[in-house]
């Protein structure tokens, strides 16, 4: 009986070990937390640290503003969805506002990640890939 149970559980373990679906974009970029966590191993100079902190600070102030707006617009959309019957045109217009803000957040984040990547040498990038 135990053998049969083990045989039935085996495929679950196999699927659990399966590599996660590859992130086609994220794997080429490095989050600031990862860079700063390995600043010493990467041999970052003081000017590099200052430049990274500066870029992160600028992006974070934008994130805060955009995320605040996105939350407000999402709340409005929730209210529209609670109505019965739901007003399709209004909901879609509101969804456009939410998605436009999401797009801005993604764009700001991507700008930050690309700039951080460009601050690193190819050797530092390879090292981070290994440390990831």
């Amino acid at each position: 009986m135990r053998v049969a149970i083990a045989a039935l559980l085996f495929p679950i373990a196999l699927f659990a070990q399966a590599p996660p679906q590859d992130d086609p974009i994220g794997r080429f970029l490095f989050p600031p937390e990862l860079i700063m966590a390995h600043a010493q191993e990467l041999g970052l100079q003081d000017k590099d640290r200052v430049a990274i902190k500066d870029e992160v600070g600028k992006a974070q102030s934008k994130f805060f503003d955009l995320q605040w707006q996105a939350k407000e617009e999402t709340d409005k959309m929730v209210k529209l969805l609670q109505q019965s019957p739901a007003d399709e045109a209004k909901i879609l217009a509101q969804a456009d506002r939410v998605m436009a803000l999401e797009r801005d957040i993604k764009r700001t984040h991507l700008t930050l990640l690309v700039r951080l990547r460009n601050m690193l040498s190819p050797e530092q990038q390879a090292q981070l890939q290994r440390l990831r």
Binding site: A7, Q21, D23, P31, P32, V56, Q67, I105, K106
Partner: protein, 107 residues
């Protein structure tokens, strides 16, 4: 003496008739023995089938139509989780455990 022989013969015939009519019964002790060999065999077959299934599913790329919308993730969705966003969604715990002065705890 003759009567005894007749009786013996009659019983012998009766036993023969009974033997022909009685279905064959396997020895009860033989059953677990058989099952003991059956379970690993079933398990082995199941194992081979699942290995084959996993192998086939991994080697053969899923057709585009088969990608289900529930499992699909937008490739840029990770960009919505911004650095430091966890800082703005929680309150820091400055001193989680204060020493109990009443018990003379000076640590």
């Amino acid at each position: 003496m003759n009567e005894d022989d007749d009786l013996r013969e009659a019983f012998a015939r009766l036993r023969e008739v009974d033997a022909q009519q009685t279905p064959r019964i396997a020895m009860p002790c033989a059953q677990p023995q058989r099952r003991r060999f059956m379970m690993p065999a079933i398990a082995a077959v199941l194992l081979l089938m699942t290995i084959a299934l996993v192998y086939v599913s991994r080697t053969k790329p899923a057709p585009v139509d088969a990608i289900r919308i529930e499992t699909w993730r937008a490739p840029t969705d990770f960009l919505l989780k911004t650095p430091g966003s966890d800082l703005t969604s929680s309150v820091p715990r400055l001193q989680p455990q204060l020493p109990d002065i009443r018990k003379g705890d000076r640590s």
